[in-house]
């Protein structure tokens, strides 16, 4: 005979097993969290926490103070920095508002450094405020309501400034009581007003597509003074109070710098410099023929400077990346990084060629661990020469490592350093500058990165079975083209705010990381792609960041992207 009831003790045993299962998993997860936290070097976390700089740094006339924009935790802040003191002072902050919000505008310093000003949009109340600060103390001196469509600001004198909207210009004058008030409103002076600049206290100039226009604010007459006919006008710039402009033009043969003098020779610009590409951030100082721009070089990039009185352009090499160049007197300021170091705002004495880091990007205690790059030259599939940089993490010895391939301007991007810190062999080919503006010239992403793959595949540390491709925004069209042409090349794809995506039917067994802001308007497209790609056998990680637009507008959003990238790169296959 056998007994077959369920004793109470046995039932308790079942509870114990069930509870044990739950505790086992929780313990396992806690151990994993602890191991990951201990294993992740502080340098990697510091890289993810670095705050990006936005817009260009604006030095005063004496080059001893700076106003610059940098990510804060929740938005973008405008900082005032006395170069003698290491701690920048936050003047104001615009919270991340995705694609709905407007960006602030930088007015910079008035003549003699009496004032500096910035425009802050207040999206909550649908208002725009122009704030004028005291140039010596950095204290707020006055505040003025501006037009909602405010685009650019420019000082006319210590007592007046002007700002542009999409098609018009308004002038603002200082009042007897110390306040500021709108004076004149010039509507419909252009179809699209860019590169607003003051040629004199009375004359403003701007770029309107392929045309250059001027406005005499005294008489209120706008006129077109030049039009690009044989090439494309990329940018105009000027020297303070000089009646001449520097034109940065481009055609199929390359880039050209012209000096356009406004006194009698308007229609015959003088050609100053030419290059096949890579003339970026041209700054015109005037004082005879003096200008500076950023170009690329095999070991990183270079600042091309023509100082007053000099006959030729002087190249100052810079072992690292740079962007947002400003040129004031004989001093250059830029956002950038030196190879092996974290980014910051740098200054360069154009005469001596000496560099100095003024404001580091990191505010934390841990130093971000930056992997040094080696540079090389390759020829793409169209026969064009490109420079590339290779980040090879030294800690990995002789083992084969996954590879990350990308094309970018030689600027700081924390993602590349993060990948290198995660043990990836990172190779980045220089993106031609012509690809960064709204030119009609064809992009060569697929040709450049395809050629980069051919080079990196020969590297002894490269694991060609684990090749990842990175592209951001419009570059993802090139990435899609390369994946379509060579479906077996990449194990994974990393696309930030992708404008185009590969055909999911051509993907199988791939790992994808897609990130975008949920205010960018492409969430539905990305979700649909994710559904189809996963159904076709791909692992797709989709990060739609709430409150963010096409490109991140706050430190937290950048950090969230970086943390997801770390997670993606460290995930087991």
């Amino acid at each position: 005979m056998k007994q077959h009831t369920i004793p109470a003790a046995r039932r308790n045993w079942n509870w114990t097993w069930a509870g044990g299962g739950v505790l086992l998993v929780i313990a396992w997860k806690l151990i994993l969290v602890a191991v990951v936290a201990l294993r992740e070097p502080a340098e990697l976390a510091a890289l993810a926490e670095l705050r990006e700089f936005k817009q260009e740094p604006v030095p005063n006339q004496a080059n001893n103070r700076l106003v610059f924009a940098q990510d804060t935790a929740e938005g973008i802040g405008i900082y005032y920095c006395d170069l003698a003191s290491p701690q920048p002072q936050l003047l104001g902050e615009q919270k991340e508002r995705g694609s709905r919000g407007r960006r602030f505008g930088m007015l910079g310093w008035s003549p003699e450094d009496k004032w500096f000003a910035c425009a802050f949009p207040d999206d909550q109340r649908n208002e725009q405020w122009i704030q004028v600060f005291d140039g010596q103390s950095g204290k707020l001196a006055s505040r003025l309501g501006g037009e909602l469509g405010l685009k650019q600001l420019v000082w006319l004198s210590n007592e007046a400034f002007a700002y542009s909207t999409e098609t018009g210009i308004r002038t603002v004058l200082r009042q007897g009581d110390g306040g500021w008030a709108h004076r004149r409103n010039y509507q419909n002076v252009a179809k699209r007003l860019d590169d607003l600049t003051a040629l004199s206290p009375d004359v403003l100039a701007w770029r309107d597509g392929q045309r250059v226009g001027t406005l005499d604010v005294g008489v209120g007459v706008a006129r077109e003074i030049w039009k690009a006919t044989t090439n494309q006008l990329v940018q105009i710039t000027r020297g303070r109070n000089e009646r001449e402009l520097l034109l940065n033009c481009q055609d199929a043969a390359g880039q050209w710098l012209y000096r356009l003098q406004l006194d009698g020779r308007e229609n015959a610009p003088e050609r100053l410099y030419e290059a096949t590409d890579y003339i970026r951030d041209v700054r015109w100082l005037g004082q005879g023929i003096s200008y500076a721009f950023l170009t690329n070089a095999p070991g990183g990039c270079a600042f091309a400077v023509r100082l007053p009185g000099a006959d030729a352009v002087k190249l100052i090499p810079w072992a690292g990346g740079a962007r947002r160049l400003t040129f004031n007197g004989s001093k250059l300021f830029f956002y950038g990084y030196e190879d092996g170091d974290a980014p910051g705002i740098w200054g360069c004495d154009a005469v001596s060629g000496e560099f100095k880091k003024h404001c580091p990007a990191g505010r934390g205690s841990a130093e971000p661990g930056v992997v040094r790059a080696t540079a090389g030259t390759l020829t793409n599939r169209l026969g064009q020469t490109r420079f590339y940089r290779l980040l090879n993490p030294s800690r990995s010895g002789d083992s084969r490592r996954p590879v990350l391939l990308a094309q970018e301007l030689n600027e700081w991007f924390a993602g590349f350093q993060i990948a290198a810190r995660c043990g990836y062999l990172v190779a980045v080919v220089d993106r031609p500058f012509e690809h960064t503006w709204d030119g009609d010239l064809p992009h060569t992403w697929a040709e450049d990165v395809g050629a980069l793959y051919d080079v990196v595949a020969k590297h002894p540390n490269a694991d060609t079975n684990r090749v990842y491709l990175y592209a951001c925004s419009r570059d993802s069209a090139g990435l899609s083209q390369l994946v379509s042409e060579q479906p077996a090349l990449a194990r994974g794809l990393i696309c930030y705010s992708p404008a185009a995506l590969p055909d999911p039917a051509r993907l199988h067994g791939r790992k994808l990381l897609l990130t975008s802001g949920d205010s960018a308007g492409d969430s539905k497209r990305l979700r649909s792609f994710q559904d189809r790609a996963v159904q076709k056998g791909n692992a797709v990680t989709l990060l739609l960041q709430p409150g963010s637009g096409h490109m991140p507008g706050s430190g937290n959003i950048e950090t969230q992207r970086a943390r997801e990238l770390i997670r993606f790169l460290q995930a087991p296959d």
Partner: protein, 225 residues
């Protein structure tokens, strides 16, 4: 080994595995809460909602299994849950999903697993539940035809024995009271006084009560064979 011991051990292991399964899904899904997961092609819901639902149902199944004293209920519930998981998988196959493991990418990443290493044991759990619970239920059904279940007249404890043991007398495994193994159902006897027909359950043997016919006090005794 006795099938009930096997069944009980299976239920214990199933409860343990489902507790692990539910916790892994919940923690894995919780770790991916900032991400947008793909839609489940079968339900049309986001995988995060689907995984929360599966995790919740697993917890309910575990709790019901722990609370229930009936092996048949436990086995049937486990079979139902296992079949649901199998049908879910078949739905994916019908929707031409090439690699279901990719739907668990984020949950797997939370535990430093590759999707395949995460998905394969989960599929194994579903198969284990279906095969074992189905097999044990069939075995139980077949075996129950050869067994007899009675209640001890002293303590009320359930006692199951093989039909071959009918007629033997043994102590009750619960209370030690001598117990005669007999067929289940009511016993019949005649009243000593009025010869009236009396039918009573076996656990009432020895009880003194008035005869329902003549109201004389009688003791319920085992009828003569």
């Amino acid at each position: 080994m006795d099938r009930r011991i096997i069944s009980r051990r299976f239920v214990t292991s199933a409860v343990f595995l489902l507790a692990v399964f539910a916790t892994v899904l919940a923690l894995g899904n919780g770790a991916a809460v900032r991400l947008t997961l793909p839609r489940d092609p079968v339900t049309g819901l986001g995988m995060n909602w689907t995984l929360w639902s599966v995790s919740l149902v697993s917890v309910i199944v575990v709790i019901v299994c722990l609370k229930s004293r009936s092996l048949q209920v436990q086995l049937a519930l486990l079979l139902w849950f296992g079949l649901d998981l199998v049908l879910w998988r078949l739905g994916w196959a019908w929707m031409e999903v090439r690699d279901p493991a990719n739907y668990f990418t984020e949950a797997a990443r939370a535990f430093q697993f590759s999707p395949a290493w995460f998905y394969t044991p989960a599929a194994g759990v579903a198969s284990f539940l279906v095969l074992m619970s189905c097999g044990l239920l069939v075995w139980d059904q077949l075996a129950s035809r050869r067994e007899v279940k009675i209640i001890c007249e002293k303590c009320g404890g359930h006692v199951i024995f093989s039909r071959k043991s009918l007629g033997q007398q043994l102590p009750c495994p619960h209370c030690g009271h001598p117990l005669k193994l007999r067929r289940p159902g009511n016993l019949k006897m005649s009243c000593y006084f009025c010869q009236g027909h009396i039918e009573f359950p076996s656990h009432a043997l020895g009880t003194k009560m008035p005869c329902p016919h003549c109201r004389q006090d009688i003791t319920l005794v085992e009828p003569p064979q």
